[in-house]
Symmetry: C2
Subunit: 501 residues, 2 copies
Amino acid sequence: MAEFMPATLLSVATDEAAGETRYHQLADQMAEAIRRGTLLPGSRLPSVRRCSQMHQVSINTVVAAYRRLEDRGLIEARPQSGFYVSSALPVLESRIEEHSPAAEPADEVLALIDKVFAAQTNPEYTNISLACPQTSDFYPGGKLGRIMSSLLRRQPKIISQYALPPGSLHLRQQVARRAMALGMILEPNDITLTHGCMEALQLALRVTTQPGDSVGLETPTYFFLLPLLASLGLKAVEIPTDPQDGLSLDALELMLSEKRLNAVIAMPTAQNPMGFTMPLAAKKRLARLMNDYQVPLIEDGLYAEIQFGATLSPAVKSFDKNGWVLFCTSFTKTLAPDFRIGWIAGGRFGEKLRQLKAVSSMSESVLLSETLAVFLESGGFDHHLRSLRRRYAAQIDEAKSLIMRYFPQGTRATQPKGGFVFWVDLPPAVDTVKLFDLLLMEKICLTPGTLYSPSGRYRNALRLSCCYPFDARYTDALARVGRRACEISGLPPGIVTQAAE
Amino acid sequence: MAEFMPATLLSVATDEAAGETRYHQLADQMAEAIRRGTLLPGSRLPSVRRCSQMHQVSINTVVAAYRRLEDRGLIEARPQSGFYVSSALPVLESRIEEHSPAAEPADEVLALIDKVFAAQTNPEYTNISLACPQTSDFYPGGKLGRIMSSLLRRQPKIISQYALPPGSLHLRQQVARRAMALGMILEPNDITLTHGCMEALQLALRVTTQPGDSVGLETPTYFFLLPLLASLGLKAVEIPTDPQDGLSLDALELMLSEKRLNAVIAMPTAQNPMGFTMPLAAKKRLARLMNDYQVPLIEDGLYAEIQFGATLSPAVKSFDKNGWVLFCTSFTKTLAPDFRIGWIAGGRFGEKLRQLKAVSSMSESVLLSETLAVFLESGGFDHHLRSLRRRYAAQIDEAKSLIMRYFPQGTRATQPKGGFVFWVDLPPAVDTVKLFDLLLMEKICLTPGTLYSPSGRYRNALRLSCCYPFDARYTDALARVGRRACEISGLPPGIVTQAAE
């Protein structure tokens, strides 16, 4: 490949901030074709010259695009032969889970969550699976800092005045404007600012349930929901969930009709930990079901703006007729991880939510809120999001190519539609709780699958997160995890193309 | 008085930021003598010349001190005669309250709190009683802003990195250092940062109680505790409380011995709404009782650093033997109202508290935390606190002198030992809920006494707050409240010196 790569190209190809350049577009189109199976693993790509004629772009553009796809592990160069689509990590397909009764999350699971999270927050450990953005050059911290410094100069009193609920009108106006991109028509007064999405979810649960109530969850689900439910005396019910399409709505409807659920909490878009987005028709049916049965749906939309597709799949909230959907999200993953400013549109619970926020933690900082509002107003957010989506999609591809190289045969993974996490299913012989303990001695942290189920399922799965810098430390840690998993299972590394089990 | 006031003095006398100048000290000494009754209402002060000889200070210093006392309403000039100690607002003394059974806060009280708080947050209304600092030149916003801008320049990545619990070590170190001034020996790991004191109290209640439990409260108490208790399914028990000495420990001990309390929440220093500080011996006994009966005490120390006395009364937590005291506070009233950074030292509940904070709202902003830590480290905090205490003490005196002038005869008030709120007891004929409704039509907001009791006591009381700028708008509002109260009660305004009822 080196012969096609003049020195002048290198700077263009490595300038991640250049935005919507032609080679980016070409690479994205081809990556999408590979993901959809239009280009099959093992098939040969057109030559650089042929590709440049087909797409009416320069040779240099094709070279840069191919190089990018190679970096992401999607294609590989074979000497004297050309470029080939890499083998793909087998996709995790549907499965039917046996039912677990409504119960408080198991003590072993809660204890494991405490243990894993305590290790995760130790800065000496290499983290490969916590969903806490640390790749700081993916976020416009410099621009936000300049906006903040300018606010401090122009309004020095801002720090010295008490922030009252429901929080900055300016930010709520901008939030309402942006919510339209996800199909939601909101007024600033429908929105309450919260201390990140975590507080939004906490308040949403407190406002819709009573201790002893049963809450339906996706399985696997966001693991911090489990200690949260336990702290509120709530029972968890795992609703069968397809790794590609999300909640089984037939199962959900059965449970609703039998009045077994007092609320449902779900992430219909770019789900954590699997990355799926529910199909549009399913989102519509979900909204209809919740309104028909008059049971609140707490929609966690934390990654809804980091979708990889060309158009954004709308929020379930956008199909909400009578206010039974509470939409929760935050700027923590999309714009300013340190600020912890989130928001909630509480539908018919909006007024009670506002009151509960005030007596739970009062309000959010006006300084931080105004900083976000000015950024959102200035129009740079869409550009930033396009770049963020591309970067996280590329890091996920790269992580998958490492898994293919180092993890034991039989490993499968989900295909995220957004966000920066995905779910890895290892061969049954690999107990990921043991794997966690083993790796901890090497100061590497991962999150075993068991964390993500109130009844302790998924002993051979784990979640990976791609929000860390893809440096030698990260890739080495991932390789070590793979090698340990091979040792435990006695299976060789590498992918054997096979039908999913 | 004008003849003693050369033009050059004016700038000194009005320079609030000048700090510990001699005339400030002299005025403070005399104010204290007036408060203690060493100088009785109506008595004549020494002449300016005599006073200057007595205290070995210049004539100008005495003039500035007298002028300051006059501004605060503590003394008055009588033409051709000299300066006299003003009449004092009668002090609210002990009373015995009948007992109320443990019960969820009354619905009427909760509805009234919602209604009053909604009005309070309307910026069009003149607020005279919410405890939300708005006098921005009392706080070092400029200095904090410069620290923050400097952090942003030196560490531009700070905004783009996820903040993990338990929060900035740097700030927790500074908090531990400063806590020694209140007698507490803490390690940084004993401290969890929270989203203001409100979240600290919320987490403390959630970690120490179960729904259905009974929580002992001072009466009157901080009104937002009532909807907070209701939201957690907790019952409130009013413990008899002396307006000058705080909780009746005999009554508390009886309740503890009868196992009627699962937790107690109290503000032993500069209490909101009454302003009392429990005597030292009572604080020690309180700590001993809670440890002996093994019932958690949630100590709200929000105003503990804004004490008016020369030395700080220590926290009850400083006498805590076995970790049954949870100390909650915040920098919201002392340093940076907008930041909403608070902290909790959870004693034996510390580990569970850390976990609960993480699943409730994760963490606090590192940018805001580091800004506070740098300020605290730089050593300007003590100077700032001295100035803040003096300013709030002066505003309380000034508000009281307005009450003496405009409120109906028979009005009494508490003598705050710190903070910026106090409690006003009007004649029985004045229903302050009606007064609230009347004044709302004039766009003036006050907080009726009924808000401060879960069983709806104190129909003829209200809390006043002195954290607002003492401009014409505030003083006019206070005068109007007094006039309306006179109309309702049919009593004339002004103080008749009398024994408290």
